[in-house]
Symmetry: C2
Subunit: 269 residues, 2 copies
């Protein structure tokens, strides 16, 4: 199974100058990293998710590379056009060249009160435009402390079950166009990380739940996200339940991001 | 006083091809419209607000024209960078070349539950980056029917009063970097429009409220928005209280948009 290492740039960088510098570094680092030679990059798909405002330009820069481009969100109102001031649709994103979108990141669940209903609509709009979905799930510190992790995850995964119910014609796309990113909220940007064993057990649970939704979902890609960095990447990559990483801050530095990708590339040899 | 005619493209067009076609039409229409000769365009400032995903490209296309570029929203979390998946900051927007942003559009108040507190933060972030603000206010059908228009507007304008209290150092920017757009929600995209007299009286009230906040706000630009089109533009433009228009659907067709701009340009002779 191909690993995935995805950089979520969030509301960064501030300028197109800094975006270009980051891309220069990333492309240079990839070309010089012997481990990331062509066949290795086939073992680990690298993707970056810039801000909407940089998406078209970043995609233009990466067109001739193996690096894919994703959006960080998608409009929940319509897949195409409409009177929705401030929102960008799945069709606009695909037209800009991105092939995936992150959905349900905990920052949007928290700051924009994104509910399961909202995320179901966004998932339908995205996949109806063949925009792949990296669906983020994960528990808060309080939920972790009170041992509700699996309960929270099951509730969040219910969006996929409802999607299957409502969109039977799109089920066949899911194995290749849906990725789950388990991001314990308490580990995002905090430097705190669960043990690899904890992550592995949670990923195993997620894969079982998905397999229960449909036979075709018995081999889904599940990434870990939350304070992944160059130092701990090897430990996560070594576990067979962890198919890659959704990387935040560490993705804004090309060398650390590439070290993470190399770890997952080598682990999948 | 210079009139303003601003096109809010909302979640349109779907493709960069259609964006370029719209810009081609707009630039062609402007160059052929005698009334929009140079001095007229000084009397009516035209601005377009594309989707985030098209902002940099649209600004690049319009750089050598008199047409300004605005964003449709701005991050409420930080003016610059940060861990805010899916949001675009004022600094990113300014860096992309836009000089204004729409804030508080009723579609964002409704679909994204934007409160006065959220809009105050967005206004602070925008103006701290010298990103001008087109602040949208307006009552719903129910509020109009129960004669609460002015009460609703006063409550929405309270954001500006609080802004002045919290950001005294930015007050001097307001006369040139803040525009109010009165958009009765019940007139947006419905074809229903209030009478010119109603709009004029409401604008008069808005101007008085602003003047009461600070002497420097005694001559603010107040635009009308809500089903403005080529047929009714002249009637709105003829009223001295209506300083321009925030145009929705009609801005997606160059000729109707330009007819509206021409109406306001001629009215301010």
């Amino acid at each position: 199974m191909q690993a995935w290492v995805i950089g979520n740039w969030k509301q960064n960088p501030a300028t197109s100058h800094d975006v270009n510098a980051l891309l220069d570094d990333l492309c240079a680092a990839i070309s010089t990293t012997k481990q990331m030679s062509h066949d290795n990059s086939a073992r680990c798909q690298i993707m970056v998710a810039p801000s909407f405002i940089h998406l078209a330009a970043v995609n233009g820069r990466l067109k001739d590379t193996s690096i894919l481009c994703a959006a960080q969100d998608v409009s929940g109102h319509s897949a195409s056009v409409g009177a929705y001031t401030g929102d960008c649709s799945a069709q606009q994103i695909v037209d800009a060249g991105a092939t995936w979108t992150i959905l349900g990141h905990s920052e949007r669940r928290q700051y924009h009160q994104e509910s399961n209903d909202t995320l179901l609509q966004k998932m339908i709009h995205a996949l109806s435009q063949d925009l792949g979905v990296v669906f983020c799930i994960g528990e808060s510190q309080a939920q972790y402390d009170t041992k509700q992790t699996l309960e929270v995850i099951d509730n969040q995964l219910a969006v996929i079950k409802e999607f299957i119910t409502q969109q039977p014609e799109l089920i066949k796309a899911l194995p290749t166009r849906l990725i789950i990113a388990y991001e314990p909220v308490w580990a995002i940007g905090t430097g705190k990380v669960p043990t690899v064993a904890e992550v592995s057990a949670t990923h195993k649970h997620i894969k079982q739940i998905l397999a229960g939704f449909a036979d075709s979902l018995s081999n889904m890609t599940v990434l870990y996200g939350g304070s992944v960095n160059a130092d701990n990447a090897n430990s996560f990559a070594a576990d067979p339940m962890i198919d890659g990483a959704l990387v935040g801050g560490a993705s804004l530095k090309a060398d650390s991001f590439l070290t993470i990708a190399t770890a997952f590339s080598q682990a999948s040899i």
